[in-house]
Amino acid sequence: MKLLTRSEEIVLLAIWKLNKDAYGVPLRELVSDWTGQEWAFGQIYKSLKTLLSKNYVRQYTSAPVSERGGRSKHIYELTKAGSEALSEIRKVQNNIWTVETIAAFEK
């Protein structure tokens, strides 16, 4: 599997974390909290598009909502491939940052 970019990885994780509530605003807030930087919506959308094209997430439209003037939101959901990708990343992460490496790094 191709490796994800860091942004894509973070956004994917955020989608997983948010469960049923993953759309523009909460995604942006969560990711901004995690990274400590203010993310632009554009960055989020960009990653979303790539994740969609790789089939790691799927997009569905929620029911129309009054706050949006009667229009619907796009909500994102992890696919099976997506969760597999996350596991891959976890594995690679563990391979790199073994206990010994972490200890040596902290010294």
Binding site: G24, G42, Y45, R68
Partner: protein
């Protein structure tokens, strides 16, 4: 929580910049965040947050909308290409018709551009004027383009508003020019060198001499190359008419696109030696043109008031008042080229109209075929905007290919067109001029876009139900529109045909009308040089003795050449003081009317012109003007000093083209006032070359320095109507193009209608109708429209023909028979075009037509 929407301005900008889907999500997200931020940190920070978001997100979103747009574009284009190639024949007809019309329109437009540029290419154009005069003659005011030399000098010396001034003789003279032993007859112009200070022609080498340095001459590049090849011309000596030696002072760029063209400029002051002494101080001779450069922003009206009395103050009985005429108006208004410009402008417009109308007609007819396709697509969910865009692209592609094709045609035909019309612009010049090329491109795009809209919208609005049930094709509004377009096309073609044929008729009339002189079997010899002039009578008589020569005559001008002198100085008993008509003059000898077969109406022939200097002929027109009894034997005076006796009245002849009325003429045999320049020889055709050889030898025995200069009288007459013949040819070509396009259009249309009515034809055949009956059914429809187009065309054609003909003093009556012929021709053409398709369909097996369902 308050529900505040995102401020309108943000929403508008975003909506404009990015795709709709993206916009909805982004806008929604922004609004949510906006509300949260307002409640968290207040309005100010919320706005800052929104701006930050927009600035960081929009570039990426724009890029994705561009990417998406280009993918859509690619797909539309691919579809467009596929659809075009599916109907190769009809696409081909569309493109060709459009291209041909467009190419023709561009060519006529180039003509217009050319005319608009003549005389415009000088520095300080707004400061350049010609001094012309208002002549108060016989109760009305005529404008003369000439100005006497003394007036020029006076104005130049006394009015500092004139920065530079120059005078030229109105026409070129033809002199022998020799460098060492290279000699040619060249057209030279007598004029002041300051001409080049007024008009900013490029001086390629040398310096402009002062006006009183009369040993110099200025020549153009072509002449320099002709005489000097690779040598430097400046400083070399040229001999003129074996009388004058001039040193070349400068070489100027060969002139083009100007009304004053000349190739060699000979110093003006020598005119005192060439014409008559005192010419340069003359107050009464108007055969000169004066051009001046004034200071900037001159108040022309007040200046004109200052100079208007200059002539009357300095000359007794003068009646002319000088004024400044803006040089930039000269070509268009004085020479009346604006007439041609308008004609060609109108033709351009009509050609464009035909091209686009034809295209619209064809494509809307064809779009009917696609109706089914559109219906289905709509049902399946295509948005109207998409369908329109699809058709729009197809249309655009066709018209643009047509435009490219037109460009190729123009490139290919331009050299011939340029030659034919003596254009001075070059294609490269035109293309590199941004204004022009963008103008042309704009027109092409406009035509393409306008032609696209109707078919695109009509088709896209088809209601699926109506379309699938097959009723659309025969809808009322569609039919009316298409018929209307066909109407316009045919009307235009008929107009052009009528105009062409009428112009031809007028030209034939002018060429064939007997000019009043016998121009056949006559040649002329031009006498040059002192020796030839001195021996003119001898030469004439010797040449008359050559076997085969029927008669020989001396004259100052040749009939039909349009050259003559005129003056208002003639008077007679009983003429009122205030009446000062312009009367033309020619010097002739006793053999003139015999040589040219001119009828003597009253009186007797002049005998022995060498001795009887004061006997004259007058022509019919002058006789009518004088309107006295017993004209023969009465006297006519010149300038109150000389007196001539009228011995004969000769019949009128056309001294010039039939554009002009016949002027009153005096023919005298007084070579003091005018010298005999020509010997006219009437000959027997069989011996013409021997006669010419003999004549050459005879002239050479008198003076061999000048090459034998001769020509044929009927050629002079033949060349008179060159510009009309060109107009005729041009209109013919464009008429043919218009008809061609109309027939293409008719072809395309009829084949589609026939296509649609295939089933109807099949049914009729089954029910027993013959091919001819079916044919008649179709023709009835077309006939109506062709007849109607004639009714529209005739008045318009009449109007333009009448206007054009009114310029000619001698003209045909409006040729009504041509209108009828054109109508019939249009009808026949339509019938032929349509019948072809109908017969093909009618002969088809009804089973085949009825089977497809």
């Amino acid at each position: 929580m308050k529900t505040e929407r995102l401020p309108l301005i943000y929403r508008l900008i975003l909506r404009f910049l990015i795709l709709r889907d993206d916009f909805e999500q982004f806008c929604g997200d922004l609004e949510e965040s906006y509300l949260i931020e307002i409640n968290k940190s207040g309005k100010f920070k919320a706005h800052r947050f929104i701006l930050f978001q927009i600035i960081k997100s929009v570039p990426g979103l724009i890029i994705s909308s561009i990417v998406w747009g280009s993918t859509m574009l690619k797909s539309y284009l691919k579809m467009a290409f596929r659809n075009i190639f599916k109907n190769k024949l009809y696409s081909g007809i569309n493109i060709t018709g459009f291209a041909v019309g467009l190419a023709a329109a561009i060519l006529t437009f180039l003509f217009v551009i050319n005319e608009l540029r003549v005389n415009q290419n000088f520095k300080d154009l707004d400061q350049l004027y010609q001094i012309q005069v208002n002549a108060h003659l016989n109760g009305n005011i005529q404008v003369w383009g000439g100005c006497p030399p003394a007036a020029e000098t006076y104005i130049e010396d006394n009015f500092p508003e004139i920065l530079e001034s120059s005078i030229l003789v109105s026409k070129n003279e033809n002199w022998l020019v020799r460098y060492n032993d290279k000699k040619f007859f060249e057209d030279i112009r007598l004029g002041e060198f300051s001409y080049f200070k007024v008009f900013s022609h490029n001086i390629l080498s040398g310096e402009i001499p002062e006006n009183d340095e009369i040993n110099y001459v200025m020549i153009d590049k072509e002449t320099a190359d002709k005489f000097f090849k690779d040598e430097n011309p400046v400083g070399k000596t040229l001999t003129f008419d074996e009388k004058f030696d001039f040193t070349v002072a400068a070489v100027f760029e060969t002139m083009s696109a100007t009304t004053n063209e000349f190739k060699i400029l000979v110093p003006f002051k020598i005119i005192d030696k060439v014409w008559y002494p005192g010419t340069t101080k003359n107050w009464g001779n108007y055969i000169f043109k004066v051009f001046v450069k004034t200071q900037k922003n001159l108040d022309v009206n007040s200046f004109n008031q200052k100079i208007e009395k200059v002539i009357v103050n300095n000359r007794k009985e003068a009646y002319t008042y000088p004024f400044l005429y803006p040089f930039k108006d000269k070509y268009l208004y004085e020479y009346n080229s604006i007439k041609n410009v308008k004609i060609y402008g109108v033709i351009t417009f009509f050609l464009l109209l035909i091209a686009s109308v034809n295209y619209i007609n064809l494509s809307s007819a064809q779009s009917i075929k696609r109706a089914k396709e559109v219906g289905i697509r709509k049902i399946v969910g295509a948005r109207k905007k998409q369908i329109v865009t699809q058709f729009f692209f197809e249309s655009l592609l066709i018209t643009l290919s047509g435009a490219v094709f037109a460009g190729i045609l123009v490139y290919f035909f331009f050299p011939a067109w340029k030659d034919f019309n003596n254009l001075t612009i070059s294609l490269i010049e035109v293309i590199s001029e941004v204004k022009i090329i963008s103008g042309i491109v704009l027109v092409i795009i406009l035509t393409a876009v306008l032609s696209c809209f109707y078919p695109a919208f009509i088709v896209a609005s088809f209601l699926p139900k109506k379309v699938l049930s097959g009723n659309f094709a025969t809808s009322q509004s569609g039919k009316k529109f298409r018929s209307g377009l066909t109407l316009i096309q045919f009307a235009i073609s008929v107009i052009l045909v009528i105009i062409t044929l009428s112009i031809s008729k007028q030209i034939d009339f002018m060429k064939n009308k007997h000019p009043g002189v016998d121009k056949e079997q006559t040649f002329y010899i031009r006498l040059k040089g002192e020796k030839q002039y001195k021996n003119k009578f001898l030469l004439r008589d010797e040449i008359a003795k050559i076997p085969g020569v029927k008669s020989a005559s001396l004259s100052s001008h040749l009939p039909g050449s349009g050259n003559y002198w005129n003056t208002s100085a003639f008077g007679w008993n009983g003429k009122s003081e205030n009446y000062k008509p312009l009367i033309c003059e020619n010097a002739v000898d006793e053999n003139y009317i015999k040589t040219y077969g001119i009828k003597l109406l009253e009186g007797r022939e002049i005998k022995n012109s060498g001795k009887s200097r004061n006997r004259v002929y007058i022509n019919e027109t002058l006789a009518k003007m004088i309107a006295k009894e017993n004209l023969i034997g009465s006297k006519i005076s010149y300038a109150g000093s000389r007196s001539y006796e009228i011995v004969g009245i000769i019949s009128d002849f056309h001294h010039s083209t039939l554009r002009e009325n016949i002027e009153p003429f005096v023919f005298y045999t007084d070579p003091i006032r005018m010298y005999y320049e020509f010997i006219s020889v009437k000959f027997e055709t069989a011996r013409v070359s021997e006669i010419l050889n003999e004549a050459e030898k005879i002239v050479a025995t008198v003076d061999s320095a000048f090459p034998f200069d001769y020509g044929f009288i009927d050629e002079i007459f033949g060349k008179r109507y060159l510009s009309e013949e060109k107009l005729q040819f041009t209109i013919q070509i464009f008429g043919i193009i218009a008809i061609f396009i109309s027939c293409l259009g008719l072809l395309g249309m009829s084949s589609y209608i026939v296509n649609i009515k295939r089933k109807e034809i099949g049914v009729r055949k089954v029910l027993g109708a013959g091919v001819s009956k079916i044919l008649i059914m179709f023709l009835k429809d077309f006939t109506k429209w062709v007849l109607l187009s004639n009714i529209i065309a005739w008045p318009i054609a009449y109007f333009y023909i009448e206007k054009w003909l009114s310029d000619y003093a001698f003209r045909i009556d409006i040729p009504y028979e041509i209108f009828v012929y054109s109508g019939i021709t249009a009808f026949v053409l339509a019938v032929i075009t349509v019948s072809g398709q109908v017969i093909k369909a009618a002969n088809a097996d009804p089973v085949m037509s009825l089977r497809t369902e």
